[in-house]
């Protein structure tokens, strides 16, 4: 190694030249795992959130109470555990636990998505529950007064409004997940942080290698935050509406 760089920027350029393939690979894995985990986690979060928002009334019969009560308890336990432990610990327990206890050989990549989705689901469920509870009781009474049952009411009225309320939070969760996937290097997921370890280790240039990584993370979060702002603006809908046959309007 005769022509190794001597300056900070020299090292950065050198590392990018040498390892850009690695960095791209890591970037891709980070995006794939966080995106898949967030989307699946949102579905889980909605499911768990709906279960938790369903109130069991005193006048319901015993069978209904049990049918509603068991999922409620399971949901509560799940949310408590996953909100109460760090994701890095969950990663270890799930990854090594699945192979030693259940004999399932999860690939790190699949394990990563699984862990993110469980983690996201737990946090999303609380957001969804809060969103559902924040819907004006008048919306529910309006639906009831039309003779609408619980399921159509949820599908047509409550959930669309909840989704609109919590959409920014879903975006924030995705951005947070992009960063949080870095802890999954402990189970050898070849995401951005894990790949940087390789790039940094060869020449032992920690500072330069991780500066590149930091810039990539920053670019990603800025990019997606901007994108989310646009989506939010789009979802807010038009301010004006079209009046048909204005002459007839009173």
């Amino acid at each position: 190694m005769t022509n190794t760089p001597t300056t900070f920027f020299g090292w950065i350029i050198f590392l990018i030249q040498q390892y850009h393939g690695y960095y791209l690979q890591g970037l891709l894995t980070t995006l794939e795992t966080s995106l898949a985990g967030t989307i699946c986690g949102c579905f889980l979060g909605f499911l768990v959130g709906i279960i938790q928002a369903t109130d069991i009334r005193a006048q319901d019969n015993m069978i209904k109470k049990i049918l509603l009560g068991i999922p409620w308890v399971i949901a509560k336990i799940y949310v408590t555990i996953f909100r109460g432990t760090p994701m890095i610990v969950q990663a270890m327990v799930i990854y090594y636990g699945s192979s030693t206890v259940f004999g399932i050989d999860l690939k790190p990549f699949n394990a990563a998505i699984f862990i993110i989705l469980l983690n996201t689901g737990a946090y999303m469920s609380e957001t969804v529950r809060g969103g559902i509870n924040s819907i004006d009781v008048g919306q529910i009474e309006g639906a009831k007064a039309l003779g609408m049952g619980y399921v159509p009411m949820m599908i047509y009225i409550i959930l669309p409004q909840t989704f609109k309320i919590i959409a920014p939070q879903i975006g924030n969760t995705f951005v947070a997940n992009i960063k949080d996937t870095s802890v999954l290097n402990v189970i050898a997921v070849t995401e951005l942080f894990y790949i940087t370890k390789v790039a940094a280790g060869t020449y032992f240039r920690m500072f330069e290698a991780y500066t590149i990584t930091a810039l990539i993370y920053l670019t990603l979060t800025l990019l997606f935050n901007g994108l989310l702002k646009l989506i939010e603006k789009y979802m807010a809908g038009k301010e004006s509406y079209e009046v048909l046959n204005p002459a007839a309007a009173k």
Binding site: G138, Q139, G142, A145, L146, M148, G237, Y241, V243, A248
Partner: protein, 269 residues
Amino acid sequence: MARQSIFKFNERVTTEAKDATYEFRGPVISVRNLEKKFGEHEVLKDISFDLFEGDVVCIIGSSGSGKSTLLRCINHLETPTSGQILYHGYPLTKDAQTINRFRSQVGMVFQQFNLFNNMTVFDNCMAGVHKVKKRSKEYSTEICMKYLEKVGMAPYVKAKPHQLSGGMKQRVAIARALAMEPEVLLFDEPTSALDPEMVGEVLSVMKQLANEGLTMVIVTHEMAFARDVSTRTIFMDKGYIVEDAPPQELFNNPKEARTREFLSRFMQG
């Protein structure tokens, strides 16, 4: 037994030849010894009355007299503590299916409009007739436009509720309830959240409906409207029905001292 009977009635009233087959002339809705408690607080005490086809019943009384609670008990938005609601002579059972069937026959208009915020004016109307009653899209569209036109809101089908004024929202809410083609329409203080100018536009729609013979129960503070439009006026106080009489009688010659006291304030004005 009771449940089957209600379904049969539903089929009958939704047939085209309603008048030809309609023989039952008993009350559409009967309230029998209705009581409602919120904890220890007794809001309704032993309420009984009958509602016949074509009746326009206005319920008046001071705030906290139980008017709204009575209305909400009729379509089970509040579960009565005891007593019965009879629909065409059959007691309503408490299972969700029966209550939903009943609610689709007995529409309700709220003080706070309760239009669905995520839907346009048109979709609000469609929600009942298309999604609940499962009528075809063509039929639903036709009937929604018919009633939106009737309340003068047809040009605004593409607007969302938050873009409309209070009076417009209430007229849409009335159209939404009418699109269900209900036998009875319940109004829970429909003009109390509106400014005086908007009150007029909503009341004129309601007046028109009354003239067309729609069976209505209206909880209101609009005394002049109650006097001019209702066929029967009920005065409630402290959870009891104090007086139930035709409006001419109740307003001009009230029998009970409490009614006189309540009306004296209005009559002075």
